[in-house]
Structure formats: C-alpha cells, structure tokens
C-alpha cells in the first residue's frame, strides 16, 4: 500500500486571542518502526495553542493524542520512533532544532507535563518534597531554605493540607487525588507558560476529578498559563476547554472552539462519539454506538482512516484522504461527506 498523499498544511482554527500563538504544531508525523511492521501513530497533525487558553485534544486509544505530546516533550525513544514535522514552534522558537542542552532549558521550565498515573510518574524512593525541590535545584539557583519555602508554598497552593509535614512523605503515602496535586505542584514549580495534562483525572474518582479540574482552572488563571488537556471525556472538555481537536488514528478529524465543535458537531466521528454516550439516549432505547473496531495502526485502511466505521462513507472515502474544509460555523473538518451548504464561503 503506497503512503497516502500528504495533506497540505491546513489552516487550523485560530484562537480568539489576536496575539501570536504560544505553540504551533504543523504537519507532525510520528512512526514507530520495527522489523515486523511500521506503526503510523501520528499522520500529519496541525494545531495552535494560544496564550492563556485551554486546548483539549480528544481521542481514544490509538488516536495519537498522547504520542504527539510525548514527542513534543522529547519523551519518545527514537529509534524506534521517527518524528518529523514541518514546524514545531513554542513562543516563536523552533523546538525541532534545539540541541539537547537548549531543550533542557525548556523542559519543566517553560513547558511542563502532568501524567495520568501519578504513582508511576513519581519516583517512589524519593520524598515528594525532594522531587519538587529537584525542579528548583536543576533550573534555579536558590538557597536550601528558599527551595523549602517555595516547595511548601506550592503544596499549599495545590490544596494539600499540612504542607510542611507532607513534604517529607513518599508518593505512596498520598491518596490518589493528593498525589495528582503533588504532581501538578511539581509541574508548575517553575511557572511554565504551557502545561500539558495527559488524562490527569482519568484514574481518579469523580468527586476528586472535579476538585482537580477546578484546581487546574484556577492555576491557569492565576499564572497566565495555557493548558493542553488530553482526554477521552467529552463532558470534561465541554466544561473546561476553550478549543478542541478531535483525533482518530493519528489525524485530526475536527477542530475548533467548544461552541463550534460541540454545539455544531460535523465530523461523523465527532457525531458518533457524542451520540454513543449513554447520556445522549433516553432510558429504554438502544445506544447508538460507532460500529466496527478500533483501527490497526500498522495496517490502516486507505483514504480516510475512519471510513470502515463511518455511516456516511462514500466510495471516494476509501481511496482518497479526506481534505480539511472550513465550515461556515467556523471549525475545520477533515471529511469528504460535508454538505456543500455548510461550507464557509471562500
């Protein structure tokens, strides 16, 4: 199967902020190559994140949402990963050309990441206080006392009670929600302008989830940060995000503001996601699932990756990749089957 034609760099839906975007991703492509097969995890993804906004990336397993951000943070081992992009710019600076030493100045300092499972992301043999202090020791030149004071203050800000005492505790001595708060404290220690949160609440109880999301929103506003939220939960996105990109099998299917994408969903996959939620159906009626199985990233179907499961699939969806079109309502959709009347006038 020949590689599909690369889509020309699309116009991502711009944020409402007129200033230059904080993060620009253009045509990001990531493959995992092994002797047995090549897995195309990310296939030409582009989006912008504006300053002080919450940008959500929504997708299921295999969508490429986590892999994209891990590539950004240089967390993928390469080989077997092969990362290419037309551009990957943060605050105007090209991240691809940074050397390892230069990148260390960004990681943790300007861009930070929070992971899904704090228990595996935190080092179990060091105290939480030591791990937060590490951020300061590596990137700043504070005295020991100042490091301690700042660490206590951070724990207080993220809502951990008795912060002085908890500094000396190990990660396993915290409950799930507290651990997540500790991880967030570590991430914001150096006051980054961009915080990437990969499924930060998926492993938590619903009541704790609400607390953590509330905390993230508050921190974002207090510190003038942007938040990239990776999740599969559309409800969470509706309540907390400004803009969203919906990913499937390594491509962006639909992107725009919350009001555009969730208020006027246009891509069949987006419609499928929204429609398959139990909340969307009245009791007693059958749910409306998306038919079929998740894609095999080592053997993707030709054309649009979603077409085997798409209720609106046309013949051309099987051999031609879907073009990205701008709708009148404002969002971008990668689909062949959009009604002409809904398109934006050029």
């Amino acid at each position: 199967m020949s590689a599909p034609a690369r889509e020309s760099a699309p116009e991502a839906a711009r944020g409402t902020d007129a200033a230059a975007p904080l993060l620009e991703v253009r045509d990001l492509r990531i493959e995992f190559r092994s002797p047995a097969q090549t897995v195309r995890a990310v296939r030409g993804v582009s989006f912008d994140v504006a300053p002080r906004e919450t940008f959500a990336i929504v997708g299921e397993s295999g969508s490429g949402k986590t892999v994209s951000m891990m590539a950004l943070m240089r967390l993928l081992q390469s080989p077997p990963a092969h990362i290419e992009a037309e551009a990957l710019r943060f605050e105007g600076r090209d991240l691809l050309t940074l050397s390892g030493a230069e990148w260390s100045g960004y990681a943790g300092d300007r861009i930070a990441m929070v992971f899904q499972d704090a228990l595996t992301a935190l080092n179990p043999v060091y105290t939480v206080g030591w791990q937060i202090g590490e951020m300061f020791r590596v990137h700043r030149d504070y005295s020991r006392r100042e490091v301690r004071e700042r660490s206590v203050e951070l724990l207080r800000q993220v809502g951990i009670p008795e912060p002085e005492r908890r500094l000396g505790d190990y990660p396993h001595q915290f409950s799930g929600g507290m651990r997540q708060r500790a991880m967030i404290a570590m991430a914001i220690a150096l006051e980054p302008t961009l915080l990437i949160a990969d499924e930060p609440t998926t492993a938590l109880d619903v009541t704790v989830q609400a607390q953590i999301m509330d905390l993230l929103q508050r921190l974002k506003e207090e510190r003038d940060m942007s938040l990239v939220l990776i999740t599969h939960d559309l409800g969470l996105v509706a309540e907390t995000a400004d803009r969203v990109a919906i990913m499937y099998a390594g491509s962006v299917m639909e992107s725009g503001t919350i009001r555009q994408v969730l208020g006027n969903p246009s891509h069949p996959y987006t419609l499928g996601l929204l429609g398959s939620r139990p909340q969307a159906i009245e009791r007693g009626h059958k749910l409306q699932p998306i038919l079929g199985s998740p894609p095999n990233l080592a053997a993707l179907p030709g054309g649009c990756a979603f077409h085997p499961r798409c209720p609106r699939a046309l013949d051309r969806c099987a051999d031609t990749p879907a073009p990205i079109v701008r709708l009148a309502s404002g969002q971008d959709v990668a689909c062949h089957a959009i009604d002409e009347a809904r398109l934006a006038t050029p």
């Binding site: 002797p35 047995a36 097969q37 038919l291 079929g292 199985s293 998740p294 095999n296 085997p308 499961r309 798409c310 209720p311 609106r312 699939a313 046309l314 013949d315 073009p323 079109v325 062949h336 089957a337 959009i338 009604d339 002409e340 009347a341 398109l343």
Partner: protein, 316 residues
Amino acid sequence: MAIPPAPTEMPRPQAPEVQAEMVATRTRPAYLHFLARDPVALLAAAWLVLLIVFVVFGEWIVGDAAHGLNLRARALPFGSTEGGWINVLGTDALGRSVLARIIVGTKVTLGIALTSAVLALLIGTLIGLWAGFVGGWTGRVIMQISDVLQSFPSILLAMVVLYVLTPSPVNLILVLTVGQLPVYIRVARAEVLELRERLFVDAARVIGANSRQIIRLHIAPMVAPTVINIVTIDFALIMLSESSLSFLGIGVQAPTITWGLMVSQGKDYLDTAWWMAFFPGLMIMLTTLSINLMANWLRRVRDPRERWRYERAKAS
C-alpha cells in the same frame, strides 16, 4: 481545491459483521516452515537428528571398533587414517576408535541425562505447583525440605548414596534426579504464587473449577515455558554431573560408554593425546547447545505472542 459535492451516492450500509472484525489475521502455524526460516535452529535440529541416528544404529554400525581392543593401534593421533577412516579422530589408550566410542556412547549418555532431566522436571514441577497453589503450611513444609536438599552439595550427596547402593544406571538416574528437584520446585512455586492472584483464576473459580482443574487448565500451561527453559540448561549440568561421578568411579562403569566417562578416561593424557578427552567434551558442548537452541525456538514458536517473528519472514 475543489469543494466536494453533496453526497448523492448512497452511503454504504454497515453489515453486522463489521461490529467486530479481527484486529490481526493469522493462519494455523506451519512448524516445519518456521524451522526452515531459522537457520540456526535448523542446524541444531539436524544435529539432534544425527544423534538419534547414533542412538538407534550406533552399536550396530561401529560396535566392534568401539569395544574391540587393538593394542597395536594405541593412541593414534587425530587425523590418522591408519586402520581406516574410523580412526580419524584418533584412538584411546587401548586402541579403540574415539569416533566409534563417541557414536556408541550417545545412547547411554543421552539416556541417563534425558531421563534424569525429564523426571526432575515432571516431579519437581508438580510438587512446586502444588506447594504454590495450596500454600499455607503444606507449602512451607515442602519448601523447607527442598531447601535442605538444595543445601547439600549434590556431588557429595551422590557419592554418599552411590557408595551405599551399587553404582548402577538406575541408581545414577535416581541420584541425579533428586539432586535437581529443588530448582524446579522453587521456580514452579514462584510462578504459581504470582499466577494464582490473576483474574482468570478468579474467573475459573466462579465457573466452579477446583484447585486441581485450575492448575491443570490454566497454571501449568503458563509455568511450562519457564521450566522447559530451565531443563535445557539443566540437561548440560546433568551430563557434567554424570561425567564427574563416572570420573570418581561411582558413575557409569566400564565397559559401558558415556561421553563423560571418556572425558575422565582421557584426562590423564591431555598433554600427550589430547584428542581422547577433547572430542567427547566437544560432543557434550555441541549437544547441550543444540538442545538449548531448539528449546528456545520451540518456546518462541509456541508462544502466540512471539510467533510473529516467523510469520513476518514467511509473509515477505
């Protein structure tokens, strides 16, 4: 770029089978084909087949050259053709062909080592499975006995036992087997301790399976690859143990031939007639290597998750 027209074509209906398509496709495994794909394993398999030929036909083909004394042909060097091609690997102190003795010795060598290894594997694993699954005091007592057994130097144990009993092949097998039991007991038990906490064990209990059924249907097949891997290394150790015991005079007794016995018979001549000990030693090495390679190949081919290595090569 042209704006796509409104969809006038009928969208294709989704067949119910699309509900659950296979993620990967596969056909039944073709073992011989997989073997052909791995040249190293193929060589190992060929070697083992050769050994089987030796076991079955050895005595019949070269029996005379192996047993018959020929003092005139004493200690002929490696490469000599005196007395025929049979002496190409040299002769020993009594003029017997080293090559012939190696061929004939295959039977007893493999027989003892294989029997001991397999017996230790089966008995030790069963004990370990039971100790691990049932746990509690039974498990602890079994482990203590096993530990005591393991703390004895096995050669010492063998010496004591064989001194008391007569050194016959059966007793030799007995001693070698018992000496190896602790390893299997320990490994099997460790695996079971982890496996019995798994969800599929709970599922089997809910179906109503008793402990014996769970061990047989679920646990044993998962423990099998690990202990099979061990037995291949163990096999070499047993062959060497038998060699040591024969060397000490309490193993196999002449005129029975084993490679180990040949090594110890030849050790006195290492600087003058090195071939007498070298070639039997080489046989031990090549055989254990082959068994190891074959076991590795077999494990990979049978493990559904590793089989893709061979299937990929097959598809290309």
